[in-house]
Amino acid sequence: MSANEAKADPAIAEVVRTEVARTIQRAIKGVQYLATPDPAVGQTPKDTIYRRGTLELHHYRPTCDEIYRVPLVFVMSLVSKAFIFDLGPGQSIVEFLVNKGYDVYLIDWGVPRPQDSHLKLEDYVLDFLPACAARIAADSGESDLTMIGYCMGGQLALMYAALHPGVLKNLVCLATPVNAEGMGLFRTWSDKRYFDVDQIVDTLGNVPAEVLYNSFQMLRPVQRVMSEIRLWDNMWNDDFVRSYRLIDRWGREQIPFPGECFRQMTKEITQENKLYKGELMLGGRRVDLHSIEAAFLAVMAEHDHIVPFDSAKEMLEMISSADKQQVVMKGGHVSLLAGANASGRLWPFLDTWLSERSV
């Protein structure tokens, strides 16, 4: 009896001591948390080389003595702000790649204004993306380009690559869905019998940020409460709190979705699954993913509740590239790209994949 208890006592005492110390730290740092503003984001030095409406094309200043020949550009989704690519020092995939010797550009769509509600997929795929690619070619002096799209940004990149064969040298899709059948609750909720997208767009113009935010929250209804409990539990840990605040800020700063584009995405991509079926028409041309021949990489997250693996598992079969690869990494929709997990998994993997294809 006493042998086990004698061993357990110091362990319990240590646990209690640690928890008391952490409770004191939580109280002190909790006050600091409430008293300080959100951490700054997007701090990697950059120049804005092109503006059009709310669109901004940024170029990040190189930090290495020599850089890879092929420039790369990040394409953000229309759903969220682009600073997920550049959260903060040590938490930024942009900063990581710049320091590895890549010439990095980023397309930031900005926050759509009411007068942007007419923007359609054609505007993004046939106008804005080609304009940005041309500007990058002029700025870098290189005709080759690597495009990296995240989430819906990956869908835009796929459409662009399919309609502009031969323009991209490399195409990377991160957490990008192609088959709406695998989109789980989003697909269920957009059932055309009950979801009247025409009424929403005709009445509201752009889809309000709150509607999108609530839709994402509904996918994991208790996540918000639980993450705040975890924040309190880890309030003593400065690294955890900093990372939490950066990602939480990104999640909270939802942006409206351009109305006409939302109508197209809902009807043609989600309800009718035209991108997957090869029936999507943009500007009178069919978006055929088989015409993509650029070196291709698709990375999915194992626990992605927004873009489940089922929505992307057939992507490789749809692409004609001779050099193509799909990997599934641990993590969720956001932790795939940003945060401590991403810095140890996706970023070094991407560096290895890109380095051989950027010369």
Partner: protein
């Protein structure tokens, strides 16, 4: 070892484990409920109701502002559209200037006013096995 923590004696670890499990179970439960057709139908009805509410409020407010001789959202929208057109023209002028800068500069990257390092970087030698 005496300093090795046993999960059995650490109630805080047990609480954290429980928290993770509870989150998964609750999310799974709510997802099941929200995946049902009745839920989708109810959500659609709520959306229709709230959008109609918003529409009638907008119309009422528009009439009210008009009676006070004040601009409404559409009036501001029209001004914003004109501003956008001006911005686009400015952008086009800037673009033309940028092209001229590129054409006249000896090295690319001069648009931002900085010279770029040479594009000669090679991938590091593979460690052990190839990709």
């Amino acid at each position: 070892m005496a300093d090795q923590k046993s999960p059995a004696v650490d109630p805080f670890t047990a609480w954290r484990d429980w928290l993770g499990q509870a989150e998964r179970q609750l999310n799974s439960f709510f997802n099941d409920v929200m995946g049902r057709e009745q839920y989708t139908r109810a959500m659609g009805q709520f959306n229709t109701f709230s959008v109609n509410m918003q529409k009638s409020m907008t119309e009422t407010m528009s009439r009210y502002l008009s009676s006070l001789n004040l601009p409404n959202r559409e009036d501001f929208g029209a001004i914003m559209q004109r501003l956008t057109a001006i911005e686009e023209r400015l952008g086009a002028i800037e673009g033309n200037n940028g092209d001229a800068t590129v054409a006249s500069s000896a090295s690319h990257g001069a648009i931002a006013g900085t010279l770029r390092p040479p594009r000669t970087k090679k991938p590091p030698p593979a460690k052990g096995k190839g990709n």
